[in-house]
């Protein structure tokens, strides 16, 4: 798509600017109880080979029978990606040898995938909008798992994952920075999770990315790309791209050429390295799987699924922006996780001011959740509690400073915020007599600062700080400011 290079994304080098071009193939495990072509379970973490049927182990004479739910999930995902749904698609055999692939081929879709072209829209933090084209989505089997660290001379093979349904989602090479690639994977993950078609758990391998990276002079023809296999975290995707682009630039600037090859990212060193060359591995000799008829369904099947789709992140974001005038990026971050969006909406429903609630959820609440590194759903402060805190701040019952303390208090020891304010005497002091008394004390005790503030009115903040400290943060800051100015005879700034 956009072929105009954006200067901010260029890599500057002594020989001139370079642009990276990134495309991703994301493997997303389909959420289903049983496998794509067998009735064995898919649940993560079972004992070795406990979830393997004779079909998954490729015993002679076994035949694949497709799981209806996996087809449904692929179509729903396609609809979520605003993509063309193919009413007729074909399963092919992709032939290669590896110990964790007992069939000797992977059942996949090659020339006729179930889902065609679509699009994912990204809102970047700096306000840039990026559209990433989806080339296709196809259904395929996952392979088993090889463990290489159990024995010095052997590899151990567990086929529990063998035959689990995957959606391979292939993007166009539309990304121009590692941040865009990361935002794309996050957005895709968010859409899949809203749809309930993939749990998006990267640690358990439910979502993995193969990253294609090449570099070119801005506006020039595409360069030769390298594919970095199986990168399994958002952070690693960023690191792998940055390293790989610089490696390629160095080679070209030294007069060399890029070999098209498959590489591995090593999280320990932050580098990519060539996988032992398997040229023949690319000769997959695809052919239609004779065990499976073409996959066909009707338009009304697709229409029914379309009618039942949940509200997706982009729609939710548009609604948040239209109804409550939230900023683009704030709305994007709020809707990224459904639980987060629901939490925010619950606060608004309970009567919190939408903009204040958005700020509070994104800064205070999400900040603490991230700091504690826990799941959003497990945060101990409920939407009700946060709404109560915001309402009390809004009507002046407590100060903004106390609001944060109160939040921490509820996080650590629970309890009803309104009761806590009563019990602990956290109410904002808006009684001018009481504040004046304290101000007089501060002024009397600090004659030097009083001298100073007359010459330099900007040092008034120091007095505000002193008064706030003496009142335990409970004084109404606006009142403190006004009263101080009156007493010290400093004009309103």
């Amino acid at each position: 798509m956009a072929d105009d290079a954006v200067p901010a994304h260029l890599i500057n080098s002594s020989t001139g600017d370079w642009e990276m071009v990134i495309g991703l193939e994301v493997h997303a495990q389909v959420t289903s109880k049983s496998k794509l072509f067998s009735g064995a379970a898919t649940e993560f973490g079972a004992k070795p080979n406990a979830q393997v049927s004779l079909v998954d182990a490729a015993m002679p004479g076994m035949l694949p029978v497709i799981n209806e739910e996996c087809v449904t999930q692929a179509v729903r995902t396609g609809l979520g990606l605003k993509a063309k749904i193919n009413l007729r698609s074909v399963f092919d055999r992709k032939n290669y040898f590896y110990p964790d692939l007992p069939q000797g081929y992977q059942i996949s879709q090659f020339t006729q995938p179930i889902v065609g072209e679509g699009e994912v829209a990204l809102d970047m933090e700096d306000g840039e909008e990026v559209r990433v084209g989806i080339e296709r989505l196809h259904l395929e089997q996952d392979a088993g798992k090889s463990l290489h660290d159990q024995d010095p001379k052997s590899s151990y093979v567990d086929l529990n994952r063998s035959g689990v349904a995957l959606m391979e989602i292939v993007s166009r090479p539309d990304m121009r920075s590692s941040e865009q690639a990361q935002a794309y994977v996050l957005k895709l993950r968010s859409i899949l999770r809203y749809l309930g078609t993939c749990d998006g758990n990267m640690e358990e391998g439910s979502l993995r990315a193969d990253v294609n990276v090449s570099v070119r002079r801005p506006g020039a023809e595409l360069g030769t790309r390298c594919e970095i296999k199986n990168v399994n975290s958002i952070r690693f995707i960023g690191q792998a791209i940055e390293y790989e682009a610089r490696r390629q630039i160095e080679i070209i600037e030294d007069g060399g050429a890029i070999d098209q090859e498959t590489r591995l990212f090593d999280p320990r060193t932050g580098e990519t390295r060539s996988m032992r060359s398997k040229e023949e591995a690319h000769d997959y000799r695809y052919f239609p799987d004779p065990d499976l008829l073409p996959l066909e369904f009707s338009q009304s099947f697709v229409d029914d699924l379309a009618a039942q789709l949940p509200e997706l992140p982009d729609q939710k974001k548009a609604r948040f922006m239209a109804d409550w005038e939230l900023e683009h990026y704030d709305a994007e971050v709020l809707v990224a996780e459904k639980e987060r969006a629901d939490y925010f909406e619950e606060m608004v429903t309970l009567g919190a001011d939408p903009k204040a609630a958005a700020n509070w959820v994104l800064n205070t609440h999400l900040g603490r959740v991230n700091k504690e590194d826990i799941d959003f759903e497990k945060a101990p402060v409920s939407a009700q509690a946060n709404t109560a805190i915001l309402k009390m701040t809004d009507d002046g019952t407590i100060s903004g400073k106390i609001a944060k303390d109160l939040y921490d208090l509820v996080w650590e020891s629970g309890g009803d915020p309104e009761k806590l304010v009563e019990e602990r005497g956290l109410k904002q002091v808006s009684d001018s007599g009481e504040i004046e008394k304290i101000i007089d004390e501060v002024i009397a005790a600090n004659p030097k600062q009083v001298e100073q503030v007359k010459a330099k009115p900007q040092t008034l903040g120091w007095f505000v700080g002193q008064v706030m400290q003496k009142t335990g943060g409970k004084a109404n800051p606006q009142m403190v400011n006004q009263l101080l100015r009156a007493k010290l005879e400093i004009a309103e700034s």
């Binding site: 289903s32 109880k33 049983s34 067998s38 009735g39 064995a40 379970a41 004992k47 070795p48 080979n49 406990a50 979830q51 393997v52 049927s53 004779l54 079909v55 998954d56 182990a57 029978v65 497709i66 799981n67 209806e68 739910e69 996996c70 087809v71 032939n95 040898f97 590896y98 110990p99 090889s146 463990l147 290489h148 159990q150 024995d151 010095p152 001379k153 052997s154 590899s155 151990y156 093979v157 567990d158 086929l159 591995l264 996988m275 032992r276 023949e280 000769d283 000799r285 239609p288 499976l292 008829l293 073409p294 996959l295 066909e296």
Partner: protein, 95 residues
């Protein structure tokens, strides 16, 4: 289409089939013969004819998403030349 020696060796390597001395020559002529025999179909005019995937008018069968199989790891690894617990054990494959 004629299959040459290099193609025979490549196919054999991809299929992990070991060829004995002289076997490649035999396969070269056999495979060429098979391909030429099938190529006769090219004489039929198939313009505008949809590829047929099944002789009867059947649609793909689908099953419900239910756990109906698995849970017999011991059976799965029973034929393995080597096992450790319920893992298959294979010569080390390094990436």
């Amino acid at each position: 289409m004629k299959i040459d020696d290099a193609t025979v060796r490549n196919i054999a390597r991809l299929a992990r089939i070991k060829l004995d001395e002289g076997e490649d020559k035999t396969l070269e002529s056999e495979l060429t013969g098979i391909l030429q025999w099938v190529e006769q179909l090219g004489e039929v005019d198939t313009d505008g004819v949809e590829p047929m995937t099944c002789v009867t008018d059947r649609q793909i069968e689908m099953r419900k998403d239910e756990i109906t199989d698995g849970g017999y790891a011991d059976e799965i690894v029973r034929n393995a030349p080597e096992r450790a617990g319920n893992f298959f054990v294979v010569p080390k494959v390094v990436e």
